[in-house]
Symmetry: C2
């Protein structure tokens, strides 16, 4: 994977870059829509491509392993072909889902034993097995298998999990070196910085990951319940240590303002279920703030859904109509809101990139963040 | 409303025609997707237009009255503008829904008092009020307010309901004559033939409706649980009596083979929730038969969803992928299946029309019906 930085902001650590994968280029900073089980919920692939203008999407190894399963994905020739998506894909390692979704999980040096959230069946993920599954899924970027600790965690727990994550990282690399890709194109491994909210652990982990020498690096275990300023502090600290010439990916973040603040700290890649999950509950993000579409104030507002929006849904449907669809619990409401929010998130990072290149990113960000947080 | 017949089949009563409304032309025979509460479930308006090629859709007066309500629809300038659909719309009268959805309903000469299926609130529909609501909705074709009887019904009940329906029809016309359209274009009233499964009542009702002299006529109260041959018998009987130079609309029918058989009997217009409702349960209709997408047989069938399908979903997604979406309960499965089924229904009537014009409709129908009924 090749990464080139076009511009670095002078007033912040923001960068505008481009990375290249076997399935095409991605311009950073970028937001990756989450396609949990081989589908970005309620959104067609051609909508993702042509209307939302997604450049790369994310798949969840845990979910894909359970359904449709690696046998089907391998027979299909990988996830790209299975779901008919020819642009880049990134898969996580399953580490976060076994942490967040399994009722029962047991971590050992070997890996994590867990119960499926679907049928209660027992499974074991190890670094090697996570790599094997990710080879079969065939994403362009694959993530190291990590262990994370939630909020609150003791220093001792966080330190142990961080060291486990580092040892597992070596096992991921070893397995990948011995087992080439299955579909004739490269897969790039991103290691993950852990260490919870403890600064010294984050510094240690970031140095370890920096020395690992990967083509891209990730920050995991944030946005799991800690205050926003703690997230910003840790992300900034880690970005300072991670190599400047490699893309930095902050996993699972976040709100539109979280994204702008973290871009300023030097983050290049983001993913989050928020735009789609909140959309399905009627929450729309816009340049002028957040709208709850179930609110009665929209019931006779026949103006376009979002005059500043880039998606066709923003002009094709009115606020009153979308409000009605949510009140009547119609599928189309969730579909429209999902498209809108994803198109907005992609617009957000595209405009951020334009401002980085124009040289006024930080000033623009300071003006924009308060607007994004407004309640409409 | 203008109706022109291009061709009448020699071996059956099938006709190919065109009717013209203020929102454009419709080529018959036609199937009308059901947009219950101002949305054809899980389908975008532009998909209906550009991919499914729907020429006219149906709205349900009962549902639209409850949500969003006539006040909002009137403020929006009617349903077309509210939902952003600029082609023809037909609304039913609410008669069928108060019959099928309300726990409690009480029929009197005045009308029907019923409880909302949403919140249990009490409402009263009369012929006049149904017309008033339909004026506010603003569909191109509006339906007379009727009373129907289910299966089983006694002769006495069916006869009483039929006579009520006839008296209500006169009240509909009187009200419409005194209350012009609200949005500057004509609305055409279709009367409805009732009479349950009793041939003499159906003949009486068809004659009454024929004499009424409307620009189009409907057959109601079929496909409510009676055997298929009873439905065909009654439909054929009624079509013989209804004027040949006006479109005939068989309400709420049906399967693909029901549609072809009724076209042969002289029916021009159809609507049914089946293509969308069954789609959401994973049942797909094709030229080669019916597919249950939840079936394990599709799990590694990576061939296109439907090689004979006209929609983009038929080639963009594989059977294995759509099967996975249904197993994983993903919204996209319902969306894809809904688009497929509606596109198929529109293709079905379009091809039927081509065969009517080519002069080999009946022969083609005899060959096609057994294929449509196959289980794949």
């Amino acid at each position: 994977m090749k990464f080139e930085i076009q511009t670095t902001d002078t007033a912040s650590s923001a960068r505008a870059g481009t990375f290249t994968t076997a399935h095409g280029e991605v311009q950073t900073p970028i937001f990756m829509p989450v396609g949990t089980v081989a589908s970005v919920k309620a959104v067609h692939q051609h909508e993702l491509k042509e209307d939302i203008k997604a450049q790369i999407i994310l798949g969840n190894t845990y979910h894909l392993y359970l359904r449709p399963g690696t046998e089907i994905l391998e027979k299909a020739g990988g996830l790209h072909k299975f779901m008919n998506w020819d642009r880049p894909i990134l898969t996580d390692s399953g580490g976060f889902q076994v942490y967040s979704l399994s009722d029962i999980r047991k971590v050992s040096e070997e890996g994590v034993r867990f119960q499926s959230h679907i049928d209660g069946s027992y499974h074991m993920f190890s670094p090697e097995y996570s790599m094997e599954i990710q080879r079969k899924i065939g994403a362009d970027i694959i993530m190291a298998f990590d262990e994370l600790t939630g909020i609150p965690a003791t220093y001792r727990e966080a330190k142990r999990a961080m060291h486990v994550t580092h040892r597992w990282l070596e096992r991921c690399r070893t397995w990948l070196n011995e087992n080439p890709p299955l579909y004739g194109y490269d897969q790039t491994l991103f290691p993950i910085v852990q260490g919870n909210s403890f600064e010294d652990l984050r510094v240690e982990s970031a140095k370890y990951v920096a020395d690992f020498g990967a083509d891209g690096n990730a920050i995991g275990g944030l946005s799991v319940g800690e205050p926003e300023d703690v997230m910003y502090n840790i992300a900034g600290l880690v970005c300072e240590i991670l190599p400047k010439d490699k893309p930095r990916y902050l996993m699972g973040v976040g709100t539109p303002w979280n994204i702008l603040e973290n871009i300023a700290l030097g983050v290049d890649m983001f993913d989050c279920v928020m735009p789609t999950r909140n959309a399905r509950n009627g929450m729309l993000f816009t340049w002028n703030g957040v709208m709850n579409m179930k609110n009665a104030k929209w019931k006779d507002d026949f103006s376009p859904l979002d005059e500043s929006g880039t998606s066709y849904v923003d002009s094709a449907y009115s606020k009153a109509y979308v409000r009605h669809l949510f009140v009547a619990k119609e599928y189309l409401g969730k579909q429209i809101a999902s498209i809108h929010n994803l198109a907005f998130y992609l617009d957000l990072v595209r405009v951020a990139r334009q401002h980085i290149i124009a040289g006024d990113f930080n000033q623009w960000k300071e003006q924009t963040v308060p607007k994004l947080k407004q309640r409409l």
